[in-house]
Symmetry: C2
Subunit: 331 residues, 2 copies
DNA sequence: CAACATAATCTAATCGTTTTCAATAGGCAA
DNA sequence: TTGCCTATTGAAAACGATTAGATTATGTTG
């Protein structure tokens, strides 16, 4: 039914080997044969079946990016970086979502075990680090935007502890003494790191840590709104709030603005990620920017390099972040 | 080097055929053999190579969703719908981005020609409709969230003309007479349809169409800001602005708020898509909601059904939309 | 002109599965 | 015992490409 390389060979009056050579622009083929093959390909509307090719070559030239959800808009830049690096080496990048479910993440990793892709980049691993670390011994696997609490896997991220420290320290430098934190119940390593940075900043400034000032929720705007409400209902209210994502921060600011609190003065806000809306929202949100594009590009470059060697690079790379200061911190 | 079905067969002391039967839970295999095979699989850590399987079966059980960018946050729900429908039938959904480039869209469609996936759903086709329509004759291809100006391809969307009409009519019903439109230079069918709906609403209300009130830009918040600025600098300013996306609307509202214009009174805004931030932004944005999850679910269900039949469904399905009224229209 | 290198081509093996078809073993009825 | 049916099993042929190695044709050199 389908047109195969055999049909092309017959039509062009050559062997399948010759067709294959033409299609892969190998040098040792006469112009005449090439012409005949190309005409046959054209006439028949042939396009090679990659299942055959991939099986024979034992490679697919495809990399899978596994994300929790496509909701996080800053993934866009990460993926762009991944694609640019991939295309430069003749690879395609596919994306799949786990919907933050570890079982499903494992299911998708099945594409790696079953050789349907050559490598995988995990953008928000849900599986425990032991499992991931074990798998990375047998397969081409890397982490991006996160890190594991083990260090035997290729990993490109930022120094989230330092970033949390920097953001909190900035609020302290602005004279704030009671700084709230809104973070996630789910303990991703980056959340933990950011929280640790927050604590260290307090400590180094001699401000006692107050667990009442920390609100744990989900990774969404609603959490910000609820978190802000709860913190502002404390006897001793915060004078600044650091959130581990802009989405949360915006939700939190929404509460503040709607309750007549002057953001940037009565209450400062610091977010994380520098999403598009963070400078759209009124007031504009101060935030930590991470090099999304560069992280994506780097992780794929390193991963592809690993595919070509038998002494794979299992380092953790921490790229530099920066603070973006806007109205929400009175700048 | 790699463990294949042969190794398992040898370890279990059976033939490869038996291993295959066990792995695919065929009935005609003795319990004893099954046990032996399962133990061998376990011992060797074997997982089948899908390249072999897919080649033999001529199917991959994978569907590719091709999007322009993952930036559009409402895709998340569409993809969720697609996944639910797919998993129910044993398929996986992969995502790839074209970065709004037609050539790259064609490149990704190569995965369909080369049988690396069983079907494709285009979420924002850039290729011309003739090309797509031709391809859909030979491959399993469907469109979602958009439609083509031909109707011989499976297509699940909403009635964008009607939606544009409804939104504009609502603004007219609110007593507005000079209604601006911010839309995209790039003429996707949905943009054209929404604009046509806008025009028809004006016409039916006896309001003359004024091309000065229409601003063409990109699909981003900046366009909204610039568009709003331009429209508000007109001699005869608009008293309401309909944008073909919430992202644009939010950008436009930002301009208004920053320039002391009372949104919901001096100037009404109507958006499109009901993205998360549309009710986060202050004031809250009125918008057209489309059934994202349902569209995704439907298109994949129909596509998979098409794979099973030789009389494929090439209909266009238009699912119902609704208006969400919030502060930006004074509700 | 023999001998040999080179270029172009073909034949057939190979990748790892699934599946057809034939073969075997065991049970049961006649 | 013989014949027949059924349940398991295995050998081998697909699937569609790439590629190593054999083969042929062509040109070059001594």
């Amino acid at each position: 039914m389908n047109i195969t390389i055999k049909d092309v060979a017959k039509a062009a009056n050559v062997s399948v080997a010759t067709v294959s050579r033409v299609l892969n622009n190998k040098n040792n083929v006469s112009e005449e044969a090439a012409r005949a093959v190309n005409r046959a390909v054209e006439d028949l509307g042939y396009s090679p079946n990659f299942l055959g090719r991939d099986l024979r070559k034992s490679e697919t030239k495809r990399i899978l990016a596994i994300v929790g959800t496509t909701q996080q808009s800053f993934y866009t830049d990460v993926l762009r970086g991944m694609q640019d690096a991939a295309y430069a080496e003749g690879y395609d990048v596919l994306i799949a979502t786990t919907r933050d479910n570890a079982d499903h993440e494992m299911h998708l990793l099945g594409m790696l075990f079953s050789r349907a892709v050559d490598g995988v980049v995990l953008l928000a691993p849900k599986l425990d680090s032991k499992t991931i670390s074990d798998l990375s011994k047998r397969f081409q696997l890397a982490i991006c935007l996160e890190r594991l609490d083990v260090n035997d896997i290729l990993c490109v991220t930022i120094d989230n502890e330092r970033a949390g420290f920097d953001a909190t320290s900035y609020l302290i430098a602005k004279g704030r003494k009671r700084i709230g934190l809104i973070t996630t119940k789910v303990r991703s390593q980056s959340s933990v790191d950011r929280e640790n940075g927050y604590r260290r900043a307090l400590k180094e400034a001699g401000i006692p840590y107050d667990e009442k000032l920390v609100y744990y929720g989900d990774y969404d705007a609603d959490t910000g709104t609820k978190g802000c409400e709860e913190l502002m209902n404390l006897e001793s209210k915060p004078d600044a709030i650091f959130s581990i994502s802009d989405t949360i921060s915006i939700g939190a600011m929404t509460y503040a603005v709607r309750h007549g609190i002057t953001v940037g003065k009565d209450l400062l806000f610091f977010g994380f990620d520098n999403i598009t809306y963070s400078h759209m929202f009124i007031p504009r949100l101060s935030t930590v920017e991470q090099p999304c594009y560069l992280q994506g590009k780097t992780v794929v470059e390193k991963l592809i390099a690993n595919m070509k060697t038998d002494t794979p690079d299992k380092s953790t790379y921490m790229l530099p972040h920066s603070l973006i200061l806007r109205e929400s911190t009175g700048d």
